[in-house]
């Protein structure tokens, strides 16, 4: 199975990289960009064949290593 994980900054956490991207988009002539938030995308190939077991394992991975719960949120999809 494949787990796809999006890690994003929590609301209220400043994202200077997102701000720089927003600025660059403006410089390139893309008007109306009201905000940019940058995050991470991680794919994990799993030997597990049971979807709920896989979800449980990946949830633990996110909590233990992949995200920093102080500043980040994560979302998982498994297929």
């Amino acid at each position: 199975m494949k787990a796809r994980i999006h890690i994003t900054l929590k609301d209220g956490v400043l994202d200077p990289q997102g701000k720089a991207i927003q600025h660059a988009l403006g410089t390139l002539g893309f008007s109306g960009v009201e905000g940019v938030r940058q995050g991470k995308y991680i794919e994990i190939d799993l030997a597990e064949t049971d979807k709920s077991n896989a979800a449980e394992t990946v949830e633990k991975m996110c909590k233990k290593l992949l995200s920093n719960m102080v500043i980040e949120n994560y979302s998982i999809t498994i297929d």
């Binding site: 209220g12 956490v13 400043l14 200077p16 720089a20 290593l65 992949l66 920093n68 102080v70 500043i71």
Partner: protein, 229 residues
């Protein structure tokens, strides 16, 4: 006073920390590799600066899951002193020994310069050799030193005197222009509630003798030595 310096792959200030501790304590620190799961009985464990594991995923994230980490956490739990400088500070927050997180500098640039720090709390194990309100000059060299914590945590840090070091102007004012990385409340270093774990972005180990251009970092090490007398 016995100490140990923990080295991770791509630590690069471990030797500076080792030399500072050796010169000022008069005892050779233990050198601990990140894969060592046991650390000898010491008074102080130091986590040095650098770019452990290439800063992959997040700064300090991989190091904070190393085999040596359990021994460091146990040492702290028993009341042992732990310091983390620069990458070491990032590792301590990733371990959860200190609250908050260190994010990319607000300028997005690597900052390498000498900054002014105010010593705000001199009642800690790590600052008692300084005088309250003293402004010291210490170098910073980092890309990710932008301290972030939620409002409740910040309030707790401020109320409990858990911010021994703050970025200030030469005159001692915590202005935006004196803040090299965008840290909330100009925070340069914090200490845990119990008072035995300290993390800071600036490098006191780089200023312990005149040959390094100044001695403002000596007080940091002298404080720890005073504490453990």
């Amino acid at each position: 006073m016995k100490s140990a310096v923990v080295t991770f792959p791509a630590s690069n200030c471990n030797r500076d920390m080792f030399d500072a501790l050796e010169k000022l304590t008069g005892k050779t620190p233990y050198q601990i590799w990140h894969q060592d799961s046991e650390i000898p009985d010491v008074d102080l464990i130091a986590l040095p600066g650098g770019f452990s594991f290439g800063d992959y995923l997040r700064c300090g994230a991989m190091a904070a899951r190393s085999p040596a980490i359990k021994a460091i956490a146990l040492h702290a739990e028993r009341g042992g002193n732990v310091i983390g400088v620069c990458n070491g500070f990032q590792v301590l927050t990733e371990m959860g020994l200190l609250p908050g997180a260190l994010m990319r500098n607000s300028s997005l640039k690597f900052v390498c310069k000498t900054v002014h720090l105010q010593v705000e709390n001199t009642l800690t194990n790590f600052t008692n050799a300084y005088t309250k309100g003293q402004v010291i000059d210490i170098p910073v060299a980092h890309h990710d030193g932008n301290y972030f914590a939620d409002e409740d945590t910040l309030k707790m840090l401020e109320t409990n005197g858990q911010i021994p070091f703050r970025y200030v102007s030469k005159a001692g004012e915590a202005t935006a222009s004196a803040n090299p990385n965008g840290s909330q409340n100009n925070i340069a270093g914090i200490i845990n509630e119990r008072g035995n774990v300290l993390g800071m972005m600036p490098h006191p180990e780089r200023l312990i003798e005149d040959a390094q251009g100044g001695t403002d970092g000596r007080g940091f090490f002298e404080s720890i030595i005073n504490t453990l007398k």
